[in-house]
Symmetry: C2
Amino acid sequence: MSRFFTKSLSALQPYTPGEQPQDMQYIKLNTNESPFPPSPRVLEAIDREEVSRLYLYSDPDCRALIGAIAKRFGLEPDQVTVGNGSDEVLWFALRAFCDENTPLAYSDITYGCYSTWCGLLNVPSVLLPLKEDYSVDLSLYQKLDATVMVTNPNAPTGICLSPAQIEDILRANPDHVVIVDEAYVDFGGESCVPLIRRYDNLLVVQTCSKSRSLAGARLGFAMGSAELIADLNRIKFSFNPYNVNRLTCLAGIRAMEDEDYFRLCTRTVAETRDRTAEALKQMDFRLTDSKANFLFAQSSRIPGGELYRKLKEKGILVRHFDKPRLEDRLRITVGSREQMEALLTALRDLGA
Amino acid sequence: MSRFFTKSLSALQPYTPGEQPQDMQYIKLNTNESPFPPSPRVLEAIDREEVSRLYLYSDPDCRALIGAIAKRFGLEPDQVTVGNGSDEVLWFALRAFCDENTPLAYSDITYGCYSTWCGLLNVPSVLLPLKEDYSVDLSLYQKLDATVMVTNPNAPTGICLSPAQIEDILRANPDHVVIVDEAYVDFGGESCVPLIRRYDNLLVVQTCSKSRSLAGARLGFAMGSAELIADLNRIKFSFNPYNVNRLTCLAGIRAMEDEDYFRLCTRTVAETRDRTAEALKQMDFRLTDSKANFLFAQSSRIPGGELYRKLKEKGILVRHFDKPRLEDRLRITVGSREQMEALLTALRDLGA
């Protein structure tokens, strides 16, 4: 830190994203990207004419994009807003619904950005411990005096709650917003979007980074009551009104319209996940019941950190978190069938 | 505001961006976009193959882009960082270098986002009044107990300070960061980048939205000592590590490499500005000495708000700020020669 950096953030712990090697020589199973390119409609839409229009600002209200998302989910446009990745949208929600006196409650094992954002915003964290088997202890979610974050499926465990279980959380916390981060819901979880019309404290956040193959375009979106969405827009327009660029708006619209491609991609990933999980179990790996596009796997023979390094030497990148209760495991993105075959071969070679 | 919105931000005043009609039927001189498309190199670079790679995250460290910017400005890569528009970069700087006890000092007439960001961050504002003729009163910049924002050229006045004048501000405030917002510097101002090696409290922020015809791509960048840049990255990685998307990274690299096109575009805009200013003066308009890609003009016959509305009826959008000392004037983006001819014709028709 320079001598000018605010003392109020001296304890800030930035997030460490997964490795993004730029030479593309690895089999990359470490940041939960899709193994498929974006919808052919996206590839057709971003043409020379659209690129030549980049001298004009994007629509700050993102009307066409929000219209496409609303249509896809059966919502009104004023029930949707968008951001530069779901990271930005989630941050808007924390800024709108948390403060020094309104903590954020979330699992002790979950997406690392929540705690980082709490640090940046000076928001206290209420950590809700997962059970020994990484499942959620719903008894901890009763009358929390906090904004609640439910990551469904959770990361890096992939374990899902049902909408009925999330409804219990919504009912138990009627005076606080319950944010449901559904980044990974499209691979086998069940979305809470249908609950929006019944709960004014429900905010659902999704991303185009995983199930819509647009990680590199950066597009996330929030869905909730028109009032909650207006709150998020209040933050957006106080921060960066043109937060979603022209080409990403366009890509998002086309991706949202191509339901067939979305279903094909997500179904294929889910099938590959289940087949890979079966193979790993036969190799004595321990696995959670992941409904996401990743597996959370423990070798019975090689510790997590060592296995991560040995796989990297073999040209396969997976994610290892050097933290209590996570250090024995690897989070392995579900890639293409060929990539997963290569992974299984490498694991067999290593005697894992 | 919903009943869940944090009370700590109940007074927040979001920024109102200029109108962005989506039907393209206006002559759009209201948001200071370039009248030229991006460099042909940008148009060539964003091809189907690059779009098909959007399933992969962008490089969170933006190494290639930062390398290209550093090379263009004769800096080291660790003296540069990038963001989702200069709005985001400036916000990172405010978050890093201001807090409840470290105000932001800026002109009372300037870019509207500064006050909005102070509201969002709970940072006090120290407003430094411009003189009657909209010029900067440098005597107010002595030993400010605040982080200092210098908008050079200023908006919406277009008036410039020289690097020597900014050096006086840097010397008078050695224990505070002086942020120089050079969004409009390429049309006739002189950049402070060469001062970076001598002042560890200087942060220069530029954008690709104006002089590099990439408003719709959203790309801004900060330049300063490696220590100040590390501070900004600390905020970036605590907020949105993948803040610049793949296609914008690529567009920025190619735009930065095409110095000839950059010079052609900026020189043409400057010539068109000066020619338009001359014509307006002959019509008895009052003008500031704008070195930016806009004019700040007052009709001697028609009040600002009325003239804004009448021009809009004629299909020409300009920006009018309904505020003291601004309400009599219009901020008119310098568009193409044809657009400015249409503007002058419309003004003559209106008797302005």
